[in-house]
Symmetry: C2
């Protein structure tokens, strides 16, 4: 049994095998930006395009993470850190499984985003800054959270009562105030082509 | 933008789409049993067989979970519960992403395993009991942990100083004391065929 154990572990299916089966690299596309800047919308739209090409992808965002694996975390600095640590770990498992992950999280602190980047090799992590002025995000306010933040009902709200540290050197900047969704989606697809994913 | 948001969310890629693309159902195979009973070995061996058939699979076990997403948890009753809660949540994300997950964890408590089963629909969760007497597991003891547990160096060790509650009605029982690895692997493949995965 011990001998078998060793033998079998040597022939484990690995990321390379899965990338080969899927016919594309796996990696993490990290969308950062204010709430209502359009991160999830763009991520899901890009995924739709990639799915048509037969890509294995997955979107991680507040909808499936904050109510799931991170449901026992709040929004303190410490909890935000643990929130992103777990997201990074989940992303690493997905990338190991051959999936191209599209993660859409406000992730306001540079240090946290740098921590995530460090978990990945150079070409397996792309940072995409979804840029939109807070005034425009407040106009959109799909869940009424900016209103609550301005009224002081929600504390530590990014862009209102908590900082957002802009990326200094992202792989891509998407201006969602001025440009239509389709242009942002195309720009991400172009970036993926440029970096050898397509 | 708001309108786009709504429209795009309606056309999100879902589990059904991914199952169709992959040409197989996604779900969770849960391997439970004592340490050194052979859970991970069987899971990786089954994965290897499924990979040859073009399946999208992933093995979750102590190697990639305890050192990753659950690295900040210990082995108290409370921590074991949180350990399995996070594994269940990660598994749900993978299953939603179209992956057939093979999870190999001691998971000694019935209540915890029932909790995980409840997160999945009936045909998306299969419990596999990897059965091996503790005496045999102690003989194998690949990491020397039983020895440490007997010496009292490791506390709360399942099968030695902490309970293992046997599954009452698992989908499959694998006797790894008497049967060679190949027979266990074949039995899992047969189970998958029976339940409409192949």
């Amino acid at each position: 049994m011990k001998k078998n154990h060793v033998v079998w572990h040597k022939v484990n299916v690995n990321r390379q095998d899965r990338n080969h089966l899927n016919n594309h690299k796996s990696g993490l596309l990290w969308f950062t930006g204010l709430s209502a800047s359009g991160k999830s919308t763009i991520a899901h739209s890009v995924e739709k395009q990639l799915f048509k090409r037969g890509f294995r992808t997955y979107v991680l965002d507040g909808d499936n993470v904050r109510h799931g694996i991170n449901s026992n975390l709040g929004f303190s600095r410490e909890d935000r850190k643990e929130n992103l640590r777990r997201i990074a770990e989940v992303s690493m498992l997905f990338v190991d499984a051959g999936i191209l992950v599209l993660a859409a999280f406000i992730s306001p602190y540079k240090a946290d985003r740098e921590y995530i980047r460090k978990q990945f090799e150079g070409d397996n992590f792309l940072e995409i800054y979804v840029k939109c002025p807070v005034e425009e995000c407040e106009k959109r306010d799909p869940k009424g959270q900016y209103k609550k933040a301005r009224a002081g009902i929600i504390k530590n709200y990014t862009g209102v009562s908590a900082p957002y540290e802009e990326p200094e050197n992202p792989d891509l900047i998407l201006d969602t105030e001025k440009k239509p969704l389709k242009e942002s989606v195309d720009a991400v697809i172009d970036l993926l082509a440029e970096r050898g994913y397509l």
